[in-house]
Every structure is written in structure tokens, then in C-alpha cells.
């Protein structure tokens, strides 16, 4: 999450995602995004003529692609890839962050869904796309591990659902308990799916 030297436009999208996941969409100001990205304020209307909605949508899209790409790295980190191992890595990304940086941020896609699902169709769609962009690689990884086709998608949805919910609870409680709990409880179920014929 620390790719620093990109163009100002990309930095603004990145910063928007960072701020949104901390404060929510409503509480994140355009000027604030520019300042955080160390980008000129005037660039906002130049790069994002669609205004805040466009910026938010791109931030959500960025987050979805980021999450999707992470899956490959998680797999690479596993000596022997298993569903529970993948899920443990997904959870660990959050427990690590919370332990080292505090419970400041949540998932930007969740924030956008909560704040914009009803008010902005385009942002809601961006969130749905982001979830799909994230679920896809997870499901594919499960399939590669021997999980039957249809169940792979279902289990990927379950994994991401449990993760998102646990992020919420952990943030509220300022305790990683919920995250570690879902990893522990869901692991056996996920691994069992590789043995079942489906």
C-alpha cells in the first residue's frame, strides 16, 4: 500500500481511498484529498471533471483492483496453498495493520457502499464491481486448490463477507479478536471443501 512516486492523478485517487476508509465518504473533502496527495487543488477539476462522485468511484475501483491483486501475493506467500491459508493471509493483512497502525481505517469499498449506495447509483455500481474484482481471484484460487466450481464462488463470497464484517467489529471494538476468530472458525470449513467432490 505504499507506492509513492506516481503521477498526481493517481496519487489523488490513492489518497481518496485512504481518507474514505478512515472518515467515510461524506466526511472526506476534496481539498483534503488534494492536500493528502500533495497535489495542487486546481488539478482536481482538471483530472476529475465529474467531481467528487468520479473521484470516489475511481478510488473504489482502485481499492477493488488492489484487493484482487493482493490475492496472488498471498498465494505466493504460502508454501503450500490451502483455502484456510489464503483466508488467514487475507485476515492477517488487517490484523497486521491494526496492530501496527491502530484501528484508524476500514475497507473503502464498505465505506462507499454505506455512504453512497442509496444516493449515487454510479458509486453503488462501482462498489459492486469492486467486490466482484476482489471475489474473482479468490474464487479462482479456490478452484486451483481443488474446490469444485460452483462452491468456489460461494466460498469466496463467504470469505469476503466474513472478513468485511469482522473488520467492522474489530474497528468498533478496537480489538482484532473478531478477525482472528473468523479466521480460526472458518478455516476448517474452507479446507473441507477441497476434499468433497462437488
Amino acid at each position: 500500500m505504499a507506492e509513492s512516486e506516481r503521477g498526481p492523478r493517481e496519487r489523488m485517487v490513492f489518497s481518496a481511498a485512504q481518507l474514505i476508509r478512515r472518515e467515510g465518504v461524506g466526511a472526506t473533502g476534496m481539498r483534503e484529498v488534494a492536500a493528502h496527495a500533495e497535489a495542487p487543488r486546481g488539478s482536481l477539476q482538471h483530472y476529475f471533471p465529474g467531481g467528487k462522485e468520479q473521484l470516489v468511484n475511481e478510488a473504489v475501483g482502485w481499492a477493488g483492483r488492489y484487493a484482487g491483486k493482493r490475492v496472488a501475493r498471498f498465494l505466493a506467500a504460502l508454501a503450500e496453498p490451502t483455502p484456510s491459508g489464503l483466508f488467514a493471509e487475507m485476515v492477517r493483512q488487517w490484523t497486521d495493520e491494526y496492530r501496527t497502525e491502530g484501528f484508524a481505517g476500514g475497507c473503502p469499498v464498505a465505506a462507499a457502499t454505506v455512504d453512497c449506495a442509496e444516493s449515487s447509483t454510479s458509486t453503488r455500481e462501482a462498489a459492486a464491481t469492486a467486490f466482484a474484482t476482489w471475489t474473482g481471484p479468490v474464487a479462482e484460487a479456490l478452484r486451483d486448490m481443488g474446490v469444485p466450481g460452483e462452491r468456489a464462488g460461494a466460498l469466496a463470497t463467504l470469505m469476503i463477507s466474513a472478513l468485511e464484517g469482522a473488520i467492522l467489529i474489530s474497528r468498533a471494538e478496537q480489538d482484532t479478536r473478531a478477525l482472528t476468530t473468523v479466521a480460526r472458525e472458518l478455516g476448517p470449513l474452507l479446507d473441507a471443501a477441497t476434499h468433497t467432490t462437488g
Copy 2:
């Protein structure tokens, strides 16, 4: 969710929860709450001298107690109580709402967490309390069904995590798929916990 004839104060708290779960905390105005509750605007500062923060906190607390009480009703609706049956009822409350009323609202506690966890300590704590108020009865119900003590709490957290995440995804996708998926995939795991000694 339709208890109409209470005092104006209670109606405002109820309305706040309704609006928050649709639009998020930031986009919900005080005047809007009063209007929705058909309560006089002047009553806001009278009943909630602590301002918006107090109102939001009470709305979150109300939502937590509401969710906790629902558990008993879900159990009563089950001929033979099982963990998977309880979870299915919890999920069904949402799928029913989404099918009949559209995907307008999410969980108010989730909304408050996303929007206020970083900016307001008291609201974050209210959210944590709400999650606890909700998890408690679920865990107790699991214990009554024969789930061993420590696992009951863990599974309750898992159930609520998965439910919250699936609510998010379903809202974004405007499709109850995620909700029905987690109910289906998690059911067997929950029921299996009643047989295991632990």
C-alpha cells in the same frame, strides 16, 4: 420495526436509525430526523442537548438492543431450534426486507462504525456495545442448543460478521445472492458445532 405510537423522543431515535442506515451518518441531517419522526424541530435540542453525537449514539444503542431482542423471536419461530436455523432467520430478515422494500438500507451500526469510528470515540464505543448486545443473545442461544461455551461466542461473532459483510455486498449488488450464499454455506458448520465436544 414498525412501532409507531411512542413519545416524540423515542420516535426521533428510531427515525435517526432509519435514516442513518439508508444515507449514512454524515448525510443524515438533524432537521431531516425531526421531519421523519414528525416531531418538532425544537425538541431536538431539548431531548438531545448533546447534539448530533448523542442522537447518533442513542440510535446505535437502539439498533443493538433491537437486534438482540430479535434473536428471541427468531428462536420462537423455529419448530426445532438449530444454529443453522437461527442464522437462516437472521439472514431472512434482510432478504425479506430487500425483496419487499428494495435495497435502500443497511445496518445502522455498520454505518456508524464506518462514519464515526475515527472521528467520535463515544460513537465507536456505542457501536462496540451494540455489537456486544447483539452477539450476547446469539451466543446464548447457541449454548442452549448444545454448542460448547467458548465456541458459542466465537460462532456468534462469525455469524454476525458474515451477515454484516453479506449485507454490504448484497446492497452494493442489489441482489440477495450474497446473503443466501452465506446462509447456505455457513449452516452446516454451525450445526456441526452442536455435536462436537469441546
